[in-house]
Symmetry: C2
Subunit: 205 residues, 2 copies
């Protein structure tokens, strides 16, 4: 449990409602949204909020933490998926293309919060970094299974592609039209994970 | 001349001082910085500011516009550089690696403003998009001269790499250690612009 959530009662309905509203509101309007507006939208009194969290910063960090599992579950293929590592990686980019085409897409929520806070040591920036590292770790595992030449490098390159594509969709105000998928595919092929690459047996991984 | 600058007297010393302070302050602390703080740091009265600009939004857009030429000049190689297109493209990523290693790096200023505003039609978002498109146009020209298979696609992929690398440096709170260069190199090679690719003569471009 992180510092951000340690002061809150995990799992209370009020807490969940506050954090869900916070995640949506901060994503849509930015981390500058005030406590008044947040509590109004969440239907929670300020008194209740401060009984659960010591500050808005703690609410922000806990809201990211709470939204992360669903976001990652949407992006990543299921564990028991039997597709090749290359296809499991491309699944993430297919999901990204899908999200980025939505008119309310404002980029990866972890990137957005970090960019807005401009404070690498803010509790929410630390949550964001940890969640982003989970995506990179997924890429790395698949790259290893797929026999990539340098799995760590490829995993970082794919993360860069994921984040840069999200940024592009936001900056251009439109979907990616296959750009994220094409870029990930080029990097996979360059790393030796093309369609015909043999899958490295689990025992040697 | 854009809408953002049309209400201001271009080139006045007060205007320049205000915009330089604004660019630095918004980059360091975010677009939420208030007019009071901005005028205090710039050493400009609010009255003077409002004589030059109709709103803080206009100051923000004009400050990005004013800072763009120096930023792009830092990133891009000189026009009369006689290196191969591949090396001219990699020059941009060498500059990025250099910037991203600085402790005060907060990502590409155009990306940062767009991510913070969450409003694609904001005048500053439009300036940011136009400036980013200049970088993509540079990549595209060089990709054409270098004989890339699909110069437009490669240019977009390199822009994604540039922005995703900047995001990574911010999220990890540390330099890129060659990641941006390695990713750009992999994409250039994948697009047929490797070390030994012949330079397409200007006349056929």
């Amino acid at each position: 449990m992180t510092q951000a959530t340690s002061t809150a009662t995990a799992g209370s309905p009020t807490r969940d409602r506050l954090l869900d509203a916070a995640a949506e509101l901060f994503y849509r309007e930015g981390v500058g949204v005030g406590v008044e507006a947040l509590c109004r939208v969440a239907g929670v009194s300020k008194r209740s909020m401060y009984q659960l969290f010591d500050s808005k910063d703690s609410v922000l960090a806990a809201s990211l933490e709470r939204s992360a599992p669903a976001y990652l579950a949407f992006l990543l293929p299921p564990d028991d998926d039997d597709r090749a590592p290359r296809d499991r990686i491309l699944h993430v980019f297919e999901r990204l293309e899908e999200m980025a085409a939505r008119p309310d897409y404002r980029g990866c929520p972890f990137v957005a919060v970090t960019a807005e806070l401009k404070a690498p040591d803010h509790p929410a920036s630390l949550v964001a970094r940890r969640c982003k590292d989970e995506l990179t770790a997924f890429f790395r595992r698949e790259a290893e299974h797929g026999g990539a030449g340098d799995p760590e490098l490829l995993a970082r390159q794919l993360t860069v592609t994921f984040d840069g594509s999200g940024v592009r969709a936001v900056m251009q105000g439109q979907g990616l039209d296959g750009l994220a998928l094409a870029t990930a595919t080029a990097l996979l092929t360059g790393a030796g994970m093309d369609d015909t690459a043999p899958r490295t047996p689990e025992t040697s991984g």
